[in-house]
């Protein structure tokens, strides 16, 4: 009986999630992503190889990318990285820094020295996340009163009071700087947006929305950047731009293994790092989850009158 009830509950929650996804603005073609995933699975089956790293600890590199140091060997020092991670964990024990990605919608509350005794809350879409260690930062973008606003926050800044994920999702590109040249409705979010809860255990959804760019002039040459999240880039190009795009292409770079190696931290180093911080991060996650559940199930006080 209980099993049936549980499964029916699960179905309900999944159904809700699908419904909400369909109702969501600007998310038109969800099939595309699934196709890509299936294709990858097929490739794996065909080649008969397993994934090289099925270590669950290594998956943390997506959730906590700032724990990995800068791969430039000129700047690396094991002791400094250790101290830095210790400081990051100390800060994380004070504030819940949730899992979020470029394309997620966040609300950040900071204490403002120019508005003493008050707090400052900003809602926006994360268009960039960069830096490692205590220098990690992210940029939120929103359109307020028809005016694009971008705020850069540092993840470990002690004046940040809370970071709340209103909608957890990924987008097709690593950086969403092209939203600056896109139509304003693609990055307009209400300041009183409600957080959307995902059912537990679902993978982070990918929003395959393709934005429409405004006509030129642009801030960057978007046509050269091989963007997947822009739909109408060809409309605004001249023949000259297309020719130059072809000239500027570097198709050999995907075969440059050394370049990839220099940009990443090797898996052996990563396991060392994650084994150092895994336990504490896991504990924090669990305790935060418990707390949030407690908050959820508080009985509402009977209203007087």
């Amino acid at each position: 009986m209980s099993v049936i009830r549980k499964s029916s509950l699960d179905i309900l929650s999944v159904g809700k999630w699908i419904l909400r996804r369909d109702c969501r603005l600007l998310s038109a073609v969800p099939e595309k992503v699934e196709v890509a995933e299936k294709a990858q699975e097929e490739i794996e089956k065909l080649s008969g190889r397993k994934r090289r790293f099925n270590n669950p600890v290594l998956e943390y590199r997506h959730v906590y990318p700032e724990f990995l140091p800068d791969p430039n060997p000129k700047w690396r020092n094991s002791l400094r990285e250790k101290m830095e991670r210790a400081d990051m964990l100390k800060r994380r024990s004070q504030i819940d820094i949730p899992e979020f990605y470029v394309g997620s919608i966040l609300a950040v509350t900071i204490s403002d020295p120019h508005a003493q005794g008050k707090t400052n809350r900003f809602v926006g879409i994360c268009i960039e996340r960069k830096g490692c260690g205590l220098r990690a930062e992210f940029i939120l973008r929103n359109v307020v009163d028809h005016q694009g606003v971008e705020v850069k926050y540092e993840l470990y800044d002690p004046t940040i009071q809370s970071i709340q994920v209103l909608r957890l999702e990924k987008r097709l590109d690593d950086k969403l700087y092209y939203l600056r040249d896109a139509l304003p409705e693609y990055c307009t979010f209400p300041q009183d947006m409600d957080p959307e809860m995902l059912p537990e255990g679902t993978p982070v959804p990918l929003n395959p929305v393709q934005v429409k760019l405004k006509p030129k002039p642009w801030l960057e040459r978007w046509e050269r950047q091989d963007l997947k999240g822009v739909s109408n880039i060809e409309e605004h190009l001249k023949e000259k731009d297309r020719v130059r795009r072809e000239l500027r292409k570097t198709p050999w770079e995907k075969y440059d293994l050394m370049k990839q190696y220099r940009k990443t931290i090797p898996a052996e180093d990563q396991t060392e790092i994650w084994s150092e911080v895994y336990n504490q991060l896991q504990q924090m996650r669990v305790s935060r989850k418990k707390l949030s559940r407690k908050r959820l199930f508080t009985t509402p006080k009977p209203q007087l009158g």
Binding site: W75, N77, L79, K90, S93, Q94, S111, Q116, P158, T159
Partner: protein, 357 residues
Amino acid sequence: MSKSNLKLICSALNKMRVSCVTARSCHFQPKFRPPYWYAPKERVMSEDMLTQENRDFIEEVRQDKLNLQIAMESPLAKVEAQEVAEWDPTTRRAGLIARKIGNYPLWSKDGKKFQTTLLQVVDNHVIKYTPPEEFKPMKTTKLNWREKRKLGCLLIGSETIDPSTVTKDYCGLFSSVGMLPKRHLFRFMISPHAKMPTGTPLFATHFRVGDYVDVRAKTIDRGFQGVMKRWGFKGMPASHGVTKTHRRPGNIGAGGQKARVWPGTKMPGHMGNRWKTLRGVQILRMNTKHNILWMLGVGIPGETGAMCYLFDTILPLRKLKTPPPFPTQPFVEDLPLEYYDESIHRFEGPTITFEES
């Protein structure tokens, strides 16, 4: 015939004397002449054809020596309190040898971000003290500074290394005082009453949080550079008819009477790899376990991993006002792990809020 020839040659050779050989005198002294006591450090490594047993034995002996040195009690512990002289503002204390290990930000209690440089004090020991009477430094042509100051020389080493990797001469510097060889050495000029006995370990607690220090190090070697990088010249325009002079200095001197290039004109040349001292750097935070100092700013010369030398600052307004640990802070078991400046926010502290005043 041949005999007479031989005689001729012999007589000619006899006339030649060593005293007649004239050597070209060098008017310009080279900029650096190693002093007579200078012992080259690097050794040519050779395959010694040792058996594995012998290798193990050598390794064992080395470990024993290292353990002995680690276990050695600080000689300062024996010195009684009365013998230690008092610190006064004219005293010059010893310094430290540290390694630059990177940068990261700290935040102050009013929410400001400070970039800091981390310096690790690696395994510092006093090697030798030479009193001012005996100290004969390298002769320089210009001034005899020994007349002016009565400072002794304290030799401090950092990072113990395997004695078999360096030359015998270099090892002799250390074995004569009963220490294991160190990778880095530095001479600190100190007041005679700030001396320390051989083998005294030095820690980051030699300085205090909030103090100002001078940091001496070698700048990053950038090689031969043009004027734009070396002196910050503006160069010339990229277009508008400019040809082949985009990064060149332009005019370097006037004509007329003084038709020459003035000495000291900024020109292309070798950049970096020089000794530079950054003065008046504040210590914001200190870790006593790993002996790390967090210094304010990112201007400390050298790349990550470079060695630098720390002194008490000589800037008049930032000089030490209260007596520091003198001659140094001896090892204490139960020190707090971290020291913070009052202005610095601790990461484990609560989120900063600005109260209405």
